[in-house]
């Protein structure tokens, strides 16, 4: 029943339901764009009035069309949409881009759901509603009411904002960025980014995918699709709403620490997505990444005719993670012959203000011929006497030769003449920037992607978890209509996952107490166990730091005596004998169900680091061992686990394992919404960890349901 999403991009026939005779109407504009765009399939405008639009005969109703219809674009007023969808079902249409608005975006969620459900039941997929349309280069289909002059190319745009989509088409045309498609996803009632990624990652026309996202609905599917897509081509994401922190209810301590954006950001990194801060940055990256090849190594070289510009670009390289080659001897060997006197063969290679276009040609040639150099940043700073035309030729020439072999990127700074050269070069598809930072940022994005591809794919390890025990505990709690586990229940859950917790026994008499203390090893803690005594300390029912048998005996007797004195008829089950936890480095780890992304795991150093410095990091589950380690390394306080001030390294491996296990428990037990271990005490390498305090919450819905 699931028709191929490819008909969205490659329909053989398109019906425009609501095609209009009035040039001011969207229904006209779309028809016009389809006709002007040179769509390769057949177009059928539909309008009860009949007649002709732009020379095309208009069918009065869908049923009248004597052809199979792959795509029906619905541009009728909202109240007629459902009926239209029903007629599409009869006709056997496959894809329904719904331009019309008036659905969930204004609160009319019910009808939207009904429409989608009906469509899906009849083998149709819905794009939108509330979209500005779709453009697909592969069939030259411009079924949108945006600009008509779309440049074909390799960039696929998926946008949640229709208005921005229209403006982006205009902007890409100005910047000479060719598009393979632009899809407006609108309310995402059915087709969403994940669906589109599945097609786009396989599409030969598309070399890079740019997505504008405002909110994520089915994050788990999105993450899966992104992970696959980034293995095939770069994905750039702009996510707005960075500052909207109120979106997620703070269900737990872990939740309250995280602005939604930190989680989004971490998960995008995990997926190998290049997150741009704004449109300008995204376009800069796309312009370069759409046409360049991947580097074969880390060594970049800056060639400049202005020392100042070289220093600025060096700063930018550090900011954007571009590694400057620094083997001075090889650099001298390569560049000494092509650098004028007073120049520098160090990196940045300074050709000086006296450099001619010929100097650039030679320097570029020398750099690009070198196996040790993997990327070149060429900067030019306007000088009084210089043959700009010649430089332009050198740039074109190099771009042509090295396009598929080595990344070369250019920045030209100066006045009107320079701007003209930039325009010409951009028109020819050469990646040239005016600002050196924009230039280096784009190369940095390429390197980010290169690093992602270089990472080995890890696997999520499987652990021997006693699922039955966990489910038994959780079911018991659910039956009692509690949404939280008691301390010992939570301890038992993590123990069932193989996470070490402090040893603990309930002794029903003195002999047992002594015996258990011996089993655990000194020092121990003892606490009275009685359903009638809630405030154990007040009752004198707690004894800490008991170092030997004698102290255990004294404490046991004292606790019993105090308890009876505190509440004469208290029913005393016994005394809990617990391991006294040795101090170590305190961490907080957790797993929770994120409203957007489903299971996520988190890590932070305990106490001040999390509470005051908000020094935490996140990943979507499933995660690999490597990803958890990267997540931990992202915190500023991570060096504390490596050992500072002469301390030994801590047992980082066991922290990673514990995080993986906590994620696995959350993942296999749907009623659990939050698990937090705070503190997880970490000992020296080889000495393991201990989960001292464990909090587990259940989803509220599951209690009532």
């Amino acid at each position: 029943m699931k028709p191929d999403i490819k008909y969205l991009f490659e329909p053989r026939t398109v019906a425009i339901i609501g095609a209009s005779h009035n040039p001011e109407k969207i229904g006209y504009k779309i028809t016009e764009n389809i006709v002007l765009g040179g769509y390769t399939g057949k177009v059928y405008p539909v309008n009860p009035k009949g007649g002709e639009i732009l020379g095309l005969p208009v069918c009065k109703a869908l049923e009248e069309i004597n052809d199979d219809i792959d795509m029906a674009i619905i541009a009728v007023p909202g109240k007629y949409v459902f009926d239209t969808v029903k007629s599409c079902a009869k006709k056997g249409v496959k894809i329904l881009p719904v331009i019309s608005s008036g659905f969930s975006e204004v609160g009319n969620t019910h009808e939207e759901k009904e429409i989608v459900s009906f469509a899906r039941d009849h083998g149709m997929r819905v794009l939108g509603p509330n979209i500005f349309g779709i453009y697909s280069a592969v069939t030259s289909l411009n079924a949108a009411f945006g600009p008509s002059n779309i440049l074909k190319g390799g960039v696929a745009i998926v946008t949640q904002s229709g208005a921005l989509g229209g403006a982006m088409i205009g902007k890409t045309a100005v910047e000479n960025i060719g598009l393979s498609t632009i899809v407006s996803v609108g309310n995402k009632s059915d087709i969403d980014e994940a669906d589109l990624l599945e097609y786009l990652m396989e599409s030969g026309q598309t070399t890079i995918i740019l997505m504008y996202i405002e909110g994520v609905k089915e994050g788990e599917r999105l993450v899966e699709a992104l992970k696959k897509a980034t293995q095939k081509k770069p994905v750039v994401v702009i996510k707005s709403g960075r500052s909207a922190r109120g979106a997620m209810a703070a269900a737990s301590h872990t939740g309250s620490l995280a602005g939604a954006d930190e989680i989004f950001d971490a998960i995008m990194r995990q997926c190998g997505v290049l997150r741009a801060e704004n449109l300008e940055e995204a376009f800069n990256w796309c312009k370069f990444l759409a046409g360049t090849s991947l580097p074969q190594g880390e060594n970049a070289v800056i060639i400049t005719n202005g020392g100042g510009l070289g220093v600025l670009a060096t700063d930018a390289c550090e900011k954007y993670g571009v590694n400057l080659y620094d083997d001075l001897e090889i650099l001298r060997k390569i560049f000494s012959e092509v650098t004028p006197a007073f120049g520098s063969t160090k990196n940045p290679v300074d050709l000086t203000g006296q450099a001619t276009a010929e100097h650039y040609r030679k320097a570029l040639k020398a750099a690009l011929a070198q196996e040790n150099i993997h990327a070149v940043i060429a900067l030019y700073c306007e000088t009084a006497v210089f043959d700009l035309e010649a430089l332009s030729s050198v740039i074109k020439e190099n771009h042509k030769i090295y396009k598929g072999k080595k990344p070369v990127i250019f920045s030209l700074l100066g006045g009107g003449e320079i701007e003209k050269v930039i325009d010409v070069l951009i028109d020819e598809g050469v990646p040239v920037y005016s600002d050196a930072y924009d230039c280096v940022s784009s190369l940095g994005a390429l390197y980010s992607y290169y690093h992602h591809l270089s990472e080995e794919e890890g696997i999520t390890p499987e652990y021997d978890i006693d699922c039955d025990e966990i489910h038994t505990i959780v079911n018991t709690v659910l039956k009692e209509k509690r949404y939280f586990l008691l301390s010992h229940e939570a301890q038992t859950v993590v123990k069932a996952a193989g996470i070490p917790i402090p040893q603990s026994f309930i002794a029903r008499n003195l002999t047992e107490a002594v015996q258990y203390a011996g089993t655990i090893g000194y020092p121990v803690v003892m606490k009275v166990v009685s359903k009638d005594i809630i405030h154990k300390s007040d009752a004198g029912g707690v004894a800490l730091d008991l170092e030997n048998e004698e102290e255990v005996i004294d404490a046991y007797q004292a606790i019993m005596r105090n308890a009876r004195r505190y509440k004469r008829n208290a029913q005393i089950t016994g005394v809990e004998v617990t391991e006294m936890v040795q101090s170590g480095t305190e961490t907080i780890i957790g797993a929770r169900r994120d409203a957007s992304f489903g299971p996520i795991v988190m890590f932070g150093l305990g106490g001040i680091y999390v509470e005051v410095l908000k020094d935490v990091s996140f990943r979507a589950y499933p995660v690999t061992h490597k990803e958890v380690l990267t997540m931990m390394e992202e915190t500023r306080s991570y060096p504390l686990l490596l050992g500072v001030r002469g301390e030994e390294q801590k047992d980082i491996d066991d922290v990673v394992e514990t995080i993986l296990k906590v994620g696995a428990v959350l993942n296999m037990c749907p009623p659990i919404s939050d698990i937090e271990i705070n503190p997880l005490v970490v000992y020296e390498h080889g000495q393991g960890v201990k989960a001292v305090d464990v909090r587990i919450l259940l989803k509220r819905g599951d209690i009532n349901g």
Copy 2:
């Protein structure tokens, strides 16, 4: 003897020594630029060949000129420069821009110094050498070998890179940024940024100052000049070399923590300078700040026709510190009549995709008429049907009316038509940006400046410091050719400045020991004092945590016994009885002489925070109480002093005072290069601080000298 720097900008007569007949030469280009630029004074080309250049008679020698010469531009080969300078002295020239290179930039520092010294002795000031020249709008003087088409306006550019300066002239022309001056400072052998600021801050032609800095020579003067200048007009600084951390030797712990850039950055903030990361950002800011008025308050409003663009701009507002007005009721009152159906009167005010230019006109008018709204960000996202011309008129109209009253800034996103409108508006001096982030960043810069001006000017408090005692100690140390103070010497220095240190006495017998312990209050620490016993602990000469008289007596006897047993003939001065310092929050404070900026102070939380998280902050001395507090607040761990996890607030005032005192000591005692108190233990509010360990270093030069 110090002639007014104003002749650099307003010379009545200019001689060009090295004026050339060859159009390929710099000496020709400069002459040409002066002539074409329409310089208002008299020009005298000088060349031994005589003749005519561009219609001007050429003098064979400076002496031949029958006029007083204010400025002589020296564009002769380096080896002739000194002789030329000598002839200028005879002629009574006031200002010498030296274009020629071949001096300190290639290691020829000696001759450069000689020239400057000679010039200063003869009442002349030197600009450069190794510069590309100077442009000054006030006299229409373009005495540089850059582009000739310089647009007059309010932006003054001071650049350390000549090459960048040339390119910047071109770039400003393209961006329609008018210049009041552009000065290349080159090797800064004499005239530096501080000198130029003195003139520029008073210049009526200049509304904003933009400086490109690579390195700072006399930082103290620069700081003083910047502090004054920013009170009069905005100063934007681009400092390259952010990533060059090796510039400063790590003379002490404090020093080793600071990359030079962190210090530069902190000091620029302290001076109220707007630091741009790159040229593009700097130009964006200048374009806006040169022509706008200051806001009268914090409330900004976004008006948009695209929800997505509005969200992006909201993110940008948080990033760049622009406060969005959020009184929903007033917003509704203001905008409900001018917002189309389905729009939003919240901030961002969404006029929707259906908005016309007329909607914009009304919304802008409503916003600008409102006293509660202090700045407006107007965004437009290209839509299918819209009267761009009308919008352009609305923008122009509003700019005209509100230019001097309220900041209004525009961002227009879209294709070729939009770009054309932007170009036209920019040509008319309206601050319009293509990217919303660039737009908000510029308003953010204006708000930064507004906040700086709103700050009350504080004073650096004076403390009752026992200077004589400090000098006595330091002189003793210098005499011993030590470059560090012993622990007790350092303690005495800070005590002389009124900083609390642990109480300590040397007891020469048991009675004294008991008496001192009583004076100090228990618990105390005791240590043997003997020049013959270096390793006191090994000798059993230390006793910690002595809680009463009895323990003091026992410990005294034990120490004496152990010491005699350890070294039979040891000469024992007595026993040091010291206060046992109570635990509190550990901080690190310090003061040092920065290679560029002179005295600076620093602050950080002790231990991990400084060592692992590098969480430190800096300011140039002198500082005010308020500035020290701001410096402390800049550290991420500052909340620890406010009290976390239910703790009381710490004695922040006393930390501020201690930092001020440490700065004062460094400032009044030139031989001291570094003071570091680590830890300075801070107690609860009202309980003060205690300097537990003090390290003081002296300048190495002072020891040998």
